[in-house]
Amino acid sequence: MATEAPPPSEGDSAVDTTVPTTADPAVPTTEAYREVQASAEFGELRRAYRSFAFPLTVAFIAWYLMYVLLSIYAGGFMGAKLVGNINVALVLGIAQFVTTFLIAWYYSRHAAAVLDPKGEAIKSRMEADA
């Protein structure tokens, strides 16, 4: 795939040399990627990511769909007034906001604590070997 090879001017430009993270690092061979993919360490990272992100995705989509379905098929329940003119529908709607903020925070905490160290260990070893 020709375009995935680092183009000569990108790594050499004045902008990129001042910010080393944007320069293209040495790219490991496909064999190296295969080996890592099959390794226990990467298996652990994949499991730590998927076992967290997938169930959480299913959960928030289910919670959101439940809200959509309640809105359509449970009008009486959603219209029940709680305080003044504030009804169940509005509270559940605001609850969607709250859970969105919480899930974003929860995932980011997991990623920083568990996923980032594992990923960085693999990355620095692979790039040192490449």
């Binding site: 795939m1 430009s13 910010v19 990272l45 959480l56 959509v68 098929y73 509005l90 969607q96 692979m126």
Partner: protein, 539 residues
């Protein structure tokens, strides 16, 4: 043109120097930024990805600027003002959708792609067919989205300047088009990103101001605000409950579900949002930018409650529909009324909010144009037509020409679709993105067996089914509110196609893969999987 709108326009015209000054100030400031950014734009990574130098916060702000379009500002406020609680679904769906992007797409995409959505879709696949498909769907999604922004621009012009002649409207739409061509061709991603940051700050400030004034009027008692909105709406308590727009018949109920599904799954498939993740140096910074975006966008959507119900309570639905049948002028009218209809304060607020809305439209239009011209140049020109042999210079030149072309197309489209609610129009772009792009993104990243045939079936199947269903829906023909109200060729009952076309996109991706004769490229999948999770070899 109703009397009231003429009144608004004449109020505004007394302060026309102010309106023109505000608008000119924004245009000059953003053009200055564009020229400054253009001087620093040398390589392809600069043009497509702003040199990948932005911080998580800067990009989060720019994402918010790119995402909170005319649909959010004009469309949602109008939908809530006219249909009450049912309009609020847009706010919720548009926000919750960011979790799909955060948990499944942003970081892997940042690690494995370079400039476009097509980089990731085609990573493990045969390049030319998949990049052609990715380019096609990027351009179609962006044009749907552009249509909504241009509709918003047309609406504002009528309200603000009292221009009713088609020539006048085309003139303003053409001005928007020319400005966006200048932003993108000269400033590239760097200029566009800064324009979006400026716009996000303006939009949040304007919305905070109006929200504050609305709440002040009701002594910060939300219940009173809702009560007054319900009373003025003519629907009573039903205005605050779900079902006013979508609860009437089984068909409209299905339409509500369809809309809900399209909203939550669309964001992570929008090309102009996805390419924003390439402007930061690492996946961690991409995560951080999504978190900032969720905070900023969430705060904004909470304020749509005050905008929408405030417009119903203070302006009233009759005045709103007189001005624009779809409710798109609710937010600017609210500004006028809360400042006082016959006072300088009202006219000034109307001018400020209209200038903010213009800034919103300009910034989003620039982002959309950049996404489609990048995809044309990088996916179609460089990798399909030139088979990867184009130099960076040639690629960027192609992107600039594509920008001019797309600008002209969107000016041409801008004249249509004025009476459609812009939030509803954008929801169609979400449905197309969720049907054509999301399945292939997820299968590519997470399913080992996925093949080129699966990707092609999914992209083309999702794209054509969603577009065809829209074409034969009541959005286009058969109803007084349709784009072409005088003809009727609709047979699909729902306004949003997502309920059918999104599952179809996923199904076709699976079917195309299991019926595929070729073996998946396991070496490429090893590269993609390791790279997407660790960032090894990322650009």
């Amino acid at each position: 043109m109703s009397q009231h709108v003429l009144l608004a326009a004449s109020e505004a015209s007394e302060h026309r120097p102010l309106i023109i000054a505000l608008f000119t100030a924004f245009v000059l400031a953003t053009l200055g930024i564009t020229v400054w950014a253009g001087r620093q734009t040398k390589s392809a990574a600069d043009f497509y990805a702003g040199g990948r130098q932005f911080t998580g916060f800067q990009n989060g702000l720019a994402i918010s600027g790119d995402y909170m379009s005319a649909a959010s500002f004009l469309g949602i406020a109008g939908a809530i003002a006219l249909f009450g609680y049912d309009g609020f679904l847009y706010s919720i769906g548009f926000l919750v959708a960011w979790l799909v992007a955060l948990l499944l797409v942003a970081e892997p995409l940042r690690n494995s792609g370079r400039f476009t959505m097509g980089d990731v879709l085609a990573y493990r696949m045969r390049q030319r067919p998949v990049r052609t498909a990715a380019g096609a769907s990027t351009i179609v999604v962006s044009i749907f989205y552009l249509l909504a922004q241009m509709a918003g621009a047309g609406v504002l012009v009528s309200l603000l300047l009292g221009i009713t002649s088609d020539a006048g409207k085309v003139g303003v739409v053409a001005l928007v088009g020319v400005l966006m061509i200048v932003y993108v061709t000269i400033g590239g991603m760097k200029g566009t990103t800064w324009v979006q940051m400026v716009k996000a700050v303006l939009l949040i400030s304007g919305t905070l101001l109006i929200t504050f004034l609305v709440l002040l009027k009701f002594d910060f008692n939300v219940s009173d605000l809702l009560g007054k909105a319900a009373e003025n709406s003519g629907h009573g308590a039903a205005f605050l409950e779900p079902g006013l727009k979508y609860g009437l018949t089984p068909t409209t109920q299905l339409d509500f579900i369809s809309l809900g599904v399209a909203l939550v799954l669309g964001t992570a498939g929008l090309p102009h949002i996805l390419i924003r993740f390439y402007t930061v140096p690492t996946a961690k910074a991409a995560r951080k930018s999504v978190n900032w975006a969720i905070g900023i966008i969430g705060g904004f959507y909470l304020m749509t409650i005050a905008l929408g119900f405030g417009a119903a309570a203070i302006v009233g639905p009759e005045t709103i529909t007189e001005s624009n049948k779809a409710g798109n002028t609710a937010a600017p009218l609210l500004a006028l009324h809360i400042g006082g209809v016959d006072s300088a304060g009202g006219a000034i607020l109307l001018a400020v909010i209209s200038a903010v809305a213009f800034a919103t439209i300009l910034a989003v239009v620039a982002g959309l144009t950049l996404a489609s011209s990048s995809s044309f140049a990088h996916d179609i020109y460089a990798n399909v037509i030139r088979r990867g042999q184009a130099t960076e210079k040639e690629e960027v030149r192609a992107a600039r020409w594509a920008t001019v072309l797309i600008g002209i197309v969107s000016i041409a489209l801008g004249a249509m679709a004025r009476d459609l609610n812009v939030a509803g129009l954008v929801a169609l772009a979400f449905a197309v993105a969720a049907s054509a792009n999301l399945p292939t993104i997820l299968y590519s990243l997470f399913w080992k067996r996925f093949t080129t045939q699966g990707a092609l079936w999914s992209i083309y199947g999702g794209l054509s089914s969603s577009v065809l269903l829209v074409l034969f829906s009541p959005v286009v023909s058969g109803k007084p509110s349709s784009m072409f109200p005088d003809v009727d060729f609709h047979w699909f009952p729902l306004e949003n196609p997502g309920l059918i076309s999104i599952p179809l996109g996923f199904l076709l991706g699976w079917l195309g893969t299991v019926l595929s004769k070729e073996e998946p490229d396991t070496g490429k999948y090893a590269e993609l999987e390791v790279r997407s999770l660790t960032g090894t070899g990322a650009h």
